[in-house]
Structure formats: structure tokens, C-alpha cells
Subunit: 339 residues, 2 copies
């Protein structure tokens, strides 16, 4: 079947091609009912508007959509993990410098994000985190420039800003090993195939291999990326009877929870357990002792995402880009040297 | 002089009254130049559109503006204090339940917020924090429903959601006194007349009075509401030579910084200094020991603000309301009983 055209959409929706154009561009008001029919026809036909046609017909809204993950589907945005508030603060700041506003939302805001993007006439979208493959397939239909942050989605429609997650946890684990720890637990969020956590686990394994420390799966503790999960994983480790002296946590918020879990059980960091995090969220320096961690430049991630997105908005022919931002170990007081 | 009319604006701007209407409603596109002339005429005449006329002419945007304070003018939004990310997460969540999106921004986004509100056709605005009086005078001209969070602005145009700040720090200080502390420092942000910090200082003074402990101004340490300021105030207190055993901090983030400041100087909380915060931000429980503090229900503040705003959007005749949310002392481990 040939690629569907504007005419096909109009025919199926029972409206003129001009009406379809208006529905897509928002240039003239049309009734909600008509808009709904047009959108349904677009969905049914898998119609993708021509990019140049679109950019000619749309006035720009100076509005950037930012998709933030939720704690649970339908629940709040992930602001209790300050990684998200920090990156959002950065995105808003750099967008504002260029005269853009940002519209934050989750993906299930009572309507598909596709509809939202059209209705709000978004100039571009920044998507933080990983989503099911369907979502990325859907989002392409917006034909709006999109930058992904922290996704391993390989689709060439999208620009990517991310870090080398495996390398980060390799650095963390190596630091633990260099400080004499051999029995090192790994605290992770959900280990999904191709997901960020799986990559971070890989780095842990690589470092162990380099130091000829055998990998044992009972040292892997899987939870969620939140504070309470950190407490639980610490409890599980203590209950396991494993002779661990160190913990590599795949996120600062997990490490911070774990420190609390140890503390409540009468154990101290770093005296009883050494621990290293990942992210360097702002509060990691607030801890006493400060949390040793892998710093990713959260603010820079936001800045680069805005920069790339605006570049693409200005130049729709911009080839897809991937940018891998640097990582750095920040030694504070949560890892103790043992002999 | 009679109240200026739409006709006066049109005359001054040299356009038709219909054009003024379009400029205000966004119902039809008009040139930027014309819009600018109309806006200037509105400013010059101090014209306030008739509320009912407005609500008839405007289509609703399902968009709520949220004004967040900045770290410095022109700088980032205050997301490093998790009070703001928590309340924003709550506002977004409750707005989303009702099919609204939120547009976050500061007040100086290259243009007056008045222009922004018109251009984006905001259905309502939530303003977090306190601003100069001019700002509140300006904002009334939008004729858009507005809810203020944590403001002591008395203008009857605005709904208010806040707490009793004086009572909160009274509770905090009384708790310190009940635990045997008599030499109690007060760590505050900028003490502006009629500001939140001044109210909190008042509560501290009230509690001292009740326990017949004389108020001494050298025990008041003024800084900014941020982490680094907390460190600095702790340093200043230690350098002062005052025999303080307790600190009442006017914000958790100040208390968290102070704990770090004490720790770096070899002092421990609560062994050497007892400390109590204000807010109960999420990270206060992450601390070891946990921070004893005054809990304000941050999420409830966001929920109430959305509820009140939407009520007003539906019913433009809604009388102005003020809601004072309850406070509660949360005892964790940062205050020690002394004899």
C-alpha cells in the first residue's frame, strides 16, 4: 500500500483536505467533533504529515513539551527523586533564555501525547527516561523534533542525550575494589532488558572481572529507584548473611535509602558498610558523611537537550545526533579503605 | 475620570474595538505590532477588561500557569529546595486529573507575565511565594482567576492558601524549650517586613516569652533559604562563642545545611547541637538522624490551590477565599533532651 496522503485522511474522516490541514495546524478553529474524526482517521491510516508541509503551515508556539516519568501509571511525576527536578530546572532555564516555555506532563494525561502535541502545537519535545517501544513508534507521528534523554531507543527519528551507564558503574565498582572491598553488593532498580539498570549491572560485572573477583548473582538486589526501596534492599542484604562490606547502588536515591536502612539497624556508613551511589543529585552532598558517587552532569544534560532541540526546530534537515556526556567519580566520605 | 472602556483603548491604540477584543482573546490572529500597540494602550489607561465579557469571548485553554520563584532574578527556578518540586508535583497531578496542563515559569520570562498570560490564554494562575507589591497590582489586570500560595498579600482579588507561619515556629521553639534548651539560636532567610521569615521569627519570640526566656537579638542569624546559607550560619554560630545548645531553623534546607556545617567542624547533631527545621520536605526523613521538623502538608497545599482555582474558573463569581492549612510537629532524632 502506498504511503497515505492528506486526501486519504480527508476521505476517511468525511471532511475536506483543508479541514484536515486546519486540524493539524491549529491555524483555524474547527469543532472538537471534526477534530476527533480527523485524528481517528490519521490513527487508522497511520498517516504521517510531510515535515516541510507542516513547518510551512504551522505557526510556532514557542512551547516545548517535556515528558517526565511517573511514580506509577496515572500517578505523580517523579519529583521525589531530585534527579528529575534538577534536570527540569535546567531545561526550563535554557528554554527560557531562548524565549520558550515548557509544558511538563506525563504520557497518559487523559489523552494520547500525540493529541496533546497537536493541540498545544508544540514546537519540540524532550522525553526523559525510557518508555515501551510502542510509545516511540507513536511519537514519531507527531513529526515534531524530539530529543530523548537517558533512553537507549535506537530509532533514527530521535536525537539522544545520555551517558555511558555501564562505564559509570564500572568506575564505581572499580573504586570499591581499589579500596579493598571484594564482597560488593549491587543495589539496582528493575533490571529490564536493554534498560539503564541492566547497563549499570554490566559495568559492575566488568569491574569485578578486571579484578578477578567472581560474579555471584546473590549479591544482586533488585528493587525500584526510590528511597524506600533503598531501605528495603539494605534490610535484605543484612538479612542475607552475606559477608558484604560494600554496596554499589545504581542510583543516589537508592544509596540514601540504604544508608538510612543500615542506620536504623544500628549499622554505620562507612564504618560497617561502604556505599557508592550514581547520579550525584544535589542532596548527596547534604548527607553526613557526604555520599561518594558517580557524577553525571544533570544540568548539562538539560542544557544539551534544549540546545539540540532548538537547533532542530530551526533546521528541520538536521541529521539525528547522539551525545554521550562525561562521568566523573566524586569521592566524599561514604567509602572506607579496608585491608 | 471614569473607568476606561474598550473604546478608549481602541482610540488610543488607533485600532477598532474588535481588534482590541481579538488582541485580548486571541480568538483571531493579529499582527505582533498591533498587539503591542493595544497592550501599550491598556497599560497606559490601566484598563481592566470586564470579567464577564472576557469569559464569554475566550475559549478555554485548559492551561494553568504556575509561577515559581527563582534563585536569583533571571536565574533558575527554585528546584534545589525540594519544597518547590514537591508542591509542583502535586499541582501537576491534581490539575492533570481535571484535564489541565500546567505551564511553569518565572515572572521575568523576557516579557511581562501579563503578556504571557494573554498569549497563552491561561485559564488560571497559581503563584508560589511572595513578590513585590507591584507584581500583585499588575497581575490583577489579567482578570484571570489567581490563587496565591504562601503569600501574605491582602488584596481581595486573590485567593490564598497558606499556613500560620508564626504558629509553626512557635511550635518548634516550644519543643526546644520543653526539651530543656534555653540558649536557642534562630536561623532565618531574609527578614523582610510582612514576609514569611518575619512571621516565623515572631513565633520564636512568642515561645521564648511563654517560657520567660529573654529574647536576645544576637541569637538571630539571617541568611538565605538555601543549603549553603545553612552551612554559613552554623559557622557563624560556632564562631560567635554563644552558649547555644539548640537551633530553630526557619526552613528544613537551612537545617540540613547547618547539620553539615556542624559536622564539618567536628560537631554532631543532636549530641552537640539540637536542631529543628520547618517544612518537612521529603529529604528531611532521609537524614541520619532524621530531622525533627514542623510538617506542613506540601502536597495538600498544591491540591487545595488547584481545587480552589478550578472552582473559580467554573464560577467567576466565587468570593475570595483564604485557607490556612494545619501544621504538625514531627519528632525524629535531631533534638536531644537536656537537663
Amino acid at each position: 500500500m502506498a504511503r497515505p496522503t492528506l486526501k486519504d485522511v480527508a476521505q476517511l474522516a468525511g471532511v475536506t483536505t483543508a479541514t484536515v490541514s486546519y486540524a493539524l495546524s491549529g491555524k483555524r478553529p474547527i469543532s472538537e467533533e471534526t477534530k476527533r474524526r480527523v485524528m481517528e482517521a490519521i490513527e487508522a491510516l497511520d498517516y504521517v504529515p510531510d515535515l516541510n508541509a507542516r513547518s510551512l503551515s504551522m505557526r510556532d508556539s514557542k512551547l516545548i513539551g517535556v515528558v517526565v516519568p511517573q511514580t506509577e501509571p496515572g500517578d505523580r511525576l517523579m519529583f521525589q527523586n531530585s534527579f528529575y527536578s534538577e534536570i527540569l530546572g535546567s531545561i526550563e532555564y535554557y528554554a527560557r533564555q531562548q524565549g520558550y516555555h515548557i509544558l511538563i506532563s506525563a504520557t497518559d494525561a487523559n489523552e494520547s501525547y500525540l493529541t496533546l502535541a497537536k493541540k498545544r502545537n508544540l514546537d519540540g519535545i524532550i522525553i526523559i527516561g525510557m518508555y515501551p517501544n510502542d510509545f516511540y513508534q507513536q511519537m514519531k507521528k507527531t513529526q515534531i523534533p524530539i530529543v530523548l534523554i537517558d533512553s537507549y531507543c535506537n530509532d533514527h527519528y530521535y536525537h539522544n542525550i545520555r551517558i555511558d551507564d555501564a562505564y559509570g558503574s564500572y568506575l564505581a565498582t572499580r573504586y570499591m575494589l581499589e579500596n579493598g572491598h571484594e564482597h560488593i553488593a549491587f543495589f539496582a532498580g528493575q533490571l529490564k532488558e536493554n534498560g539503564v539498570m541492566k547497563k549499570r549491572l554490566l559495568g559492575y560485572q566488568q569491574a569485578l572481572g578486571e579484578f578477578e573477583v567472581p560474579f555471584r548473582s546473590e549479591y544482586i538486589f533488585e528493587g525500584q529507584i526510590d528511597y524506600n526501596s533503598g531501605i528495603e534492599l539494605a534490610d535484605k542484604l543484612m538479612a542475607s548473611g552475606l559477608p558484604a562490606t560494600g554496596v554499589v547502588a545504581a542510583a543516589d536515591i537508592l544509596a540514601i535509602g540504604a544508608i538510612k536502612g543500615f542506620y536504623e539497624a544500628g549499622k554505620r556508613v562507612p564504618e560497617d558498610y561502604s556505599i557508592i551511589g550514581f547520579d550525584d543529585v544535589e542532596i548527596s552532598q547534604y548527607m553526613t558523611p557526604g555520599l561518594t558517587t558517580i557524577r553525571q552532569q544533570i544540568s548539562l544534560k538539560g542544557e544539551k537537550a534544549v540546545e539540540l532541540l532548538l537547533k532542530h526546530i530551526e533546521d528541520p534537515t538536521l541529521p539525528k545526533q547522539e551525545e554521550i556526556l562525561p562521568l566523573q567519580l566524586i569521592a566524599r566520605g561514604s567509602v572506607k579503605k579496608i585491608s
